[in-house]
Amino acid sequence: MSDTAPRNPVSAPQMLADALLRSVAGTTALLRVTGANTDTSQSEVGLVATTFEDVVVSPVVMRKLRPTWKEGGESKYELLVSATSVETQINALDIGSAQALFALTLAVTVDGKDYLIESIASSEAFGAPYLYRLLLREAGQQAI
């Protein structure tokens, strides 16, 4: 639901969020996005990997969440992502929304390590997101 107050939407919240992310040593994250399937029967049974593309988003800030140790459990992280960067990639890839982009994302790579997306939230001002929060956990896939 958008804010109906008589104020003109400006990009100040987005610029402020980007400045804050950069000021706390913002880095770059790669979203490993899958292409649309062409050979459905083989890709549906895990036989042929679909095409992947690394989508760059920056600035982002990653922080480890409060450690709650559990046998066999992976650490969890929170990735704060610039909404302007996501918006740029949505337009470049011609994807409908940020949710669609994250739905296509198989893994997030930060500093060479892969993470899986657990949940997604966004912070909004004037009806437009200025920051996305991705809850991540470490991926256990084999490097080939």
Binding site: T34, E44, V45
Partner: protein, 161 residues
Amino acid sequence: MQNAKDSFYMALRTRLATINPERTILVRGAVRPGILVEEAEAPFSQIPSDVFVLRWQGLGVDVDLASTLVAEECEILYQTFGTQSFGGLDRGRLLSAMDEELVAMLQPFYTPKLNYGSTPPAAMLTQVFWDEPGFTASVTLRDRLSRSAKVLVYSYQEQGE
């Protein structure tokens, strides 16, 4: 056993597309019939609703036969929240509809075994067959209604498998 697992999934997928073409899911940018194999997709924290999810579990092998018989247990999970226009009040009806679709999908209880490693898939000599599903009681968690069914899927090991 992988060929049997693939053939079982593809049989159910094809049958679902005929039984209820409107039950679809958008996965990796492609619209597919509303059934997927959990181990062949990106991990999800919660199974998607209004689709069937195949989870492969137990495994048994009988080697005291002319051909080795392999049995693998498949759990088919599904859940629904109802529809938004009904305020979720139709979730019981939707779960019943999924129950019926699953029973229809599993019949007949056999399908030809194909090797999906080649293009086009190569027909093998034997068939994959399974027994009747064992349904669990439905589980209610707030507005979510879920159920699972377990099916034992059998196949004979062929040369090269």
